[in-house]
Structures are given as structure tokens and as C-alpha cells.
Amino acid sequence: MSDTLVPEGTMIGRRLERREDERLLAGHGGYLDDLDLPDALAAAFLRSPHAHAKILSFDATEALALPGVIAVFSGADLMEIQKPLAPKVQHPQLRDYPRLPMPPAELHYVGEPLAVVIAESRYIAEDAMELIEVDFEVLPAVASTAAALQENGPLAHSGDETNVAVLLSQSAGDAAKALAEAPNVLSDEFFVMRGGGHSMETRGVAARFEAATGQVTIWDTTQAPHYARQQLSVIYEMAEDDIRVIAPADVGGGFGPKAQFYGEEVVIPWVAMKLGRAVKWVEDRQENMVTSMMERSQTHRVDVGFDNDGLLLAVKDVIEHDQGAYCAGLQVPSITTSTVPGPYHVPNIAIELRACYTNMVPTSSVRGAGRPQAVFVMERMIDRIAEHLGLDPAEVRRRNLIQADEFPYKVGIMFRDGSPLTYDSGDFPTLLEGTLERIGYDEARALQAKLRQEGRYLGIGLSVYIEGCGLGPYEGAKIRLTNKGRILVTLAAAGQGQGYETVYAQIAADGIGLDMDYIEVKTGDTARIPFGQGTFASRITATCGPAVMDAAKQMRERLLDTASVLLGCDASEVDFVGDKACLGGDLEKSVSLQQLAQTANIGKHGITMPRGIKAGIETSSYFSPERAAYASGAHAALVEVDPETGEIEILKYVIGHDCGNVINPLLVDGQVLGGFAHGIGNAMYEEPVYDVEGQPQATSYLDYALVSATEVPPVELFHIQTPSPLNPLGVKGAGEGGTIPAPATIANAVEDALRPLRARVTRAPITPARIVDAIVAAAAGQD
């Protein structure tokens, strides 16, 4: 599907099948629960059944008496680790309500852990949980941002003054004035529902303590092992060198929630240290549905001002953001605020954010991270402008898009990485036109008009979006020549199925000028590489990629330098043939990688090294981007809506995507298509309903609809490549572009289909019931 121009003789740009597939297809993957930890005990967490409650008493006597139960700890038993888990992204004005690993006194959402049972098996641990007696004082709960922000309403944390976590505003120009003077102003309110990551592998932590070394080894299904180690070293007051966090080579999907840091990650290793036994906890799906962080739910009240040609003059957006019970970080709302203007010229903009606490599981990044909501709002309003002026929605987009010759483009507000929001490169008009052409836009409009005569409701939805990705602060790579004469590339970033072992071998192969067969990639282990940040925000290719390339180039130099000393020639005369460094391509005059390792790394004990050889062939590099890069894209959907049942049929879907240079088109296509399925879920199905008491109502896949092969329509995907000037590979992120604009696209298509009925689509997911309601409401309004 990609048209990548592959430079002659490079691995970068090639559509290569993945190396990791062999083991995964054969059932030999090594996921956390597959670890063989002989004698490991199983853990199960007792969790709050109430959205907001005080613990009055706790009695585990009976549970402890059950054969096979080793220990039970409540929060009060582990006071030494009850320290706040810091929000990932802070703000000086944030009123941070401390999030404790396992609160000893008051609980703030259904599913919050309050005790842990350690037993010989998970079966027994769950039996024991049933025997624990806890008395609760149930407190009033806050189960929506509307409830959180109402005056004199209940408080999510008793004794607090307000539920507001932070009020922030961003602006450029003078939106109030521009709105007052604009010839046209339209306003509406939009709501996007929460949704989860739903990695098929749930979260899990295992730990083992070595009393002899004082070191604890932790296996964690995390996207960010170094981040986890950082947090743990603060909480445990242990040197980071004594904490080894390993994200197993195989992790069954991350999508954001596994990049966050949770109480269970603090409790399990601590218990392992206390008991001197290995302990393993693997979240079950029911726990995952209530305790893994979610995202999305935001209410937007938006006003747009525009002239009679449809040109945007001002946008004002007031956002209510649901942090859940604690602030795990402000990354999501701050990304939302900076994503509102999108790919358009918006001369005056004012965005207000009201982030508040509720008694629901904390929210944080889920694939798309704050962007789908902003795109939903802006793209809905672009369609409304077109409708208001009787213009074509594609034409209104064309008129407002930032043009290809305007980069770098300064938006005037700030991005979450702390830098002024500046788009590095892109070509939005080409993306839009390519999408229109492939969806057959003009024909679709003609068909729409014809079918309307027959009483059928065909709709076309368009969306254009931008995605800040490749965020700092840095990411790194270490490359070593191993004793066996192979090249080992080590990344701090932990893969979640993106194919790191393949992609970074491709990059290293080009940097070293060596066949990929001799290159191996290892990821996600704090003992193998000292510094790292982790996999999130579609950042690794743009941050780790350049680091791998740089370390690989250094490695080439080190290898050839060493070889040239042994061959007695100039380094410029040596090159690789297979795994041998040859003089002038002559295999007779060559040294193998293994010989180089023997000489420079292994050496001969007590014997002087050959003169001119530098000991230790290892290189490393860390890349810190100046600021975020911007991927972009356009989506188009052709749908038919049945106004009787509210059913949406997606007839055709097109994605135009630009993530700069593509390292492996097979994998990039996979990322976009996978993200698209998630986006369709957000657009039409996924809804973790909570009742007014804060009780989650969808705690299994019988109640929470994840899309299967029958719900996700075929999609046509094309790429354009505007290389990012911010990194030497010219790459940007690809992980979320399929997800971000899908809800907006479907909403636009549905409202377009129902335009004759004047039904309004203001909420995602767009379910049949909501469509029928909107049609009924529109009819009532017209009477």
C-alpha cells in the first residue's frame, strides 16, 4: 500500500517481514505470564467495591487460615511504601491529590487496590479474598465531569475544597473580540466517551529479590521500564542500580495504559522483598476493565467565528476533562488543547481547560492521547460551517488548510513538550485531495443526491488532522560487538508488538553497512542500558531511530579502524563482505567480526594489546529532539445510515497518511490499520459506562464491545512522505494516526447522511440508539 522510494542498497525503506514472527507464530513467545519462575507465589488484589469509601476495619484472619495462603497485606500493613505516585506530566497550578499505591484509609474508585493476598496459586488467592472482612463507610461519589464541576456537589476526595485539578488557558490573538466581530458564529457542545487500551495481554508484574546482592529484579509489562525504575527507586529509597526492571521481549500490546505507573508495580516487588520469595501478579480481564487507566472523556463547548467565505476567524473551546480519581499526568488534556487548531489557519484562538477529579479509574493516555477529542470538535465545526454557508465541506477545508509552503508553521500556542507549537513539515492539501480522489468524492456526492430522492441516507465524512509525535526528552541506543562476533543493538524502549527487533536492525544495518543477519536487537531492560524514557506518544522511531543510526555509524568506524590495524592498511580501504572486514574486497586479506572481538574486546590476559587498537568495541548515542515532529493525515468515509434502526454501514473508507520517511512500509501500514480499528471502536462501539454512583457497568467483553473482523471495514491506505527536518532520518510517528480522526470522520459522515433530517451528532461513540434519538429530537425540534 505504501509507495516508498527505497534508496539503492539500503535496508531503510524496505518492506521486510518481521523477525519476531517466527517465535510468536510457533507459540514460543515469552510474555510475562510465560516466565518460568520456579516457586513463584501468586498474588491477587482485593479491590474497592465502592467508588468512594472509607475503610473502617480490615480483618484477614480467616483468609490467612486458608491452607496455601502465605500472607495478606492491607495498605495499612505497608505504610513504608504509601508514597504518592507522581503525575507523569505536571503543572505548577495542578492541585495534585496524592495517589498512593494501596491507600490505607480512603478509596476513590471501584477497583482501587486495598489489600494483596499472596498464595500458592491464584485460585487459592482468590478464595482467600472472599474471606477477608472489610467494613466500609460509603461516601457520595462523583461520576461525571458535570457532577464534579457543579456547585456544592459531592467531592471526589472527602475534605477537599473542590474537584478542580487544574484550570489552564492557552490563547493566540484575541478570540473574544474576533468572535464578537465575526459575521458568522456557530456554537455547540460535544462529548467524547471514555475508552480503554484493551491490550489483549493484561498488565502484570513479577519480582524476585536476591538477598545476597540486595538487588530486586522486576518483570513488568510496561512500555517504560526506566520510568518504572525511576519511580521505584524514589519510593523504595533504593539506588536505581539495585532495581532491575525488565519489560519482557514479548508484551501483548500497550496502547498507552502500560506506559503509566500503577500501585501494583510498587506493591508486588516490595512483597517479594519482604517475603524473600518470587511473586507474580497477572491482572485478569475483569480487573483490567476497572483498574487499567482509560482516556477520552471530555466535554467541549466550542464557538467558531468565520467570514462569509468560510474562512476561520476565531475558535474558542472550553474543555472539561475527566482526570478520574487522581491525576496520573496532565499529558492528555494538554495535548488536547494544542491539537484543537489542527491543520488550519486559526488567527484567533482561546482554549480553556478545566480538568477535574471524579470517582472513576484515573485517566491517562490511550492510543491517540487527547487528540481524537480535539479533532472531533474541530472537524465537526468545519462541517457545520459548510452547512451554514451552503458550501461543500471539502471546499471549506481547502480554504482553511495551512499550505505546503508554510512550514515551519507557528500556531501561536504551546505544545505539551514545553515548546511553541510549531509544525515541522507536511502537505495537508495533498493529503486531502488524495483522499477525496480515492473515495471518489464527486461521484459520491452525485450518488448521495440521487439516493436521497429514493429516501436513502448516504453520507460522506472527511477529517484532516495533525499529530505531535517523536517527543523528547531523549532516547538512546547502545551497540556492542559481542564475543561471538555479532552486533548487539540495545534499546531502552520496550516494544509492544511494533517490530522493534526488525526495524532497529534495519537502521543499524544501514549505519554499520553490515548485513542484518549479523545484527540482533534487545529491548526494555534497565540492566542492559542505563538511560531511557520508553515507548509512548509515537516517539520511538523519531527519537531512538536517530540514536541507533548514530551509534551504528560510530560502530562502523570502530570496526573498520580495528580491522585496518590488524590488516595493516588505512581504514578507508576496508569494507565488509559478509561478517568479514576485507581489504579491497579480498577475502584472503580479511578479519572476521569474531576476530575483532577476540582482539579488541576479549584480549589475552596479561598480554599487551596490538598497538593502535582501541579496547572495547561498544558505542552508544542518545538523541534529544529539539521539539515534537508532526505527522498528519486525512480520512474519508462513505456511509449509509438506516434512520429506522440507527445502523451505520461503512461503504468505503480511505486513509491518507504522512509520517515522514518510512523505515518499513509493511510495519507502518500495520500500525495505521491497527490504529484505524481502534478508532472505529471509539467512533461506534466502545463505552465503559459508569452509573451515577460510579459503578462501572461494562466489566467484561459481553458489555464492552471491542471490534472484531466483521465490524472493521476494508480500508484503502496511501502515504505521502514529508520528511521531518527535526531528525536525521526524517521520520515521524505512525502509531496513532489511524485512530485519531476516525470518530470525527464517522460523525461527519453520519450527520451528513442525516442532513435532510437535521439530526445532530454530538457524542462519540455514535451508537444506533443515539442516532435514533438524534433523529427523534430533530423531528421534535422542527414541529
Binding site: 510457533a26 507459540g27 518460568d36 474471606l131 489483549m200 495481554e201 501483548g252 508488538g497 481502534h678 472484531s708
Partner: protein, 172 residues
């Protein structure tokens, strides 16, 4: 929280059963609690960890194995029910280290990313293709619809099923 101990005995160690079955052509025997699921039996007792648990309530399909010829969710079946059965799991698909045509099609079409759902998909599709060939995209989607993949978006999976089915027909 509630004390069920009197109503439902929570400990069943005393009434263990011996389960004997054939998995991928090899015979196994193990002593299990009657409440142990087939999935846990395969993973924990036999250490065949290729079979994965995604939901433990019969919806995601990650735990699918073939029991006496039928694709079965091993999270919904007890190990004791498999006594005497012929089981096939993902570990048995490749022959002499050679991936099956379906496994090869998955690789070619990038039908897996994290790979966690993959064993379940492979087993469901293997069972389905033994019954009848799949020639249209719609049929392929039907065959796949009992399993959930959060990573791939299904395009590669649909292609893989069609290709594997076509290959199978060609050989027949």
C-alpha cells in the same frame, strides 16, 4: 468481603483428578483440581504457554485450542473434561520447525503485531479451514469474528485466511 465458606467449600485439593490426554500427538498425564481450566492446565501443568488468556470469559478467543477436532475456548472448559481427548495447540502447528501455510501467510501479511492473540486466531482458522475453504473476504471475516485482535486491524488476517485457503485447495 462475604463469607461463602460455609456454602461453597473453597478448597478442593482433596478431590484431585488425574487427567490424561494427547496434546499435539504426545501423551500427557497430570493431577489437577477439578476446577482447573483447560487453559491453565495447558499453560501451568504442561508448560505449553503458547495458548494465551485474554479475557477468561469466552469472548476474545485468545485461548482457542482444538479439542477432538473442534475449535474450543480453553478458558471455558475444565481440564477434567479433556480427559481422554485429542488436543491440538499452537505449538503443534509447525512441522519439523517448518511453519504451516497458514502461519506463513500470517507472517507475509503482517497479521500479527504483539502476537498475543495470534495462537487463538491460528487455531480457530486452522479448524475452520479443515471444514471448508474460504473464498470470499466476507467469509474470511466471519471465520475470524470469534477472535479479537487489538493490534492489527484485521486486514492482514483476512488476507492470510484467503491465501491459506487458496493454497490448501491447490494442494488438494
Amino acid at each position: 468481603m462475604r463469607d461463602h465458606a460455609t456454602e461453597f467449600p473453597t478448597r478442593t485439593q482433596d478431590e484431585t483428578h488425574t487427567v490424561g490426554c494427547t496434546v499435539n500427538g504426545r501423551e500427557y498425564e497430570a493431577v489437577v483440581d477439578p476446577r482447573m481450566t483447560l487453559a491453565d492446565f495447558l499453560r501451568e501443568k504442561l508448560r505449553l504457554t503458547g495458548t494465551h488468556l485474554g479475557c477468561e470469559h469466552g469472548v476474545c478467543g485468545a485461548c482457542t485450542v482444538i479439542v477432538d477436532g473442534a475449535a474450543t475456548r480453553s478458558c471455558l472448559m475444565l481440564a477434567v473434561q479433556a480427559d481422554g481427548a485429542q488436543l491440538e495447540t499452537v505449538e503443534g502447528l509447525a512441522e519439523d520447525g517448518e511453519l504451516s501455510p497458514l502461519q506463513c501467510a500470517f507472517k507475509r501479511n503482517h497479521a500479527l503485531q504483539c502476537g498475543f492473540c495470534t495462537p487463538g486466531f491460528l487455531m480457530s482458522v486452522t479448524a475452520a479451514l479443515r471444514e471448508e475453504s474460504v473464498t470470499t473476504e466476507e467469509q474470511a471475516r466471519e471465520v475470524l469474528s470469534g477472535n479479537i485482535c487489538r493490534c492489527t486491524g484485521y486486514t492482514g488476517l483476512v488476507k492470510s485466511v484467503l491465501e491459506a485457503s487458496a493454497g490448501k485447495d491447490a494442494q488438494a
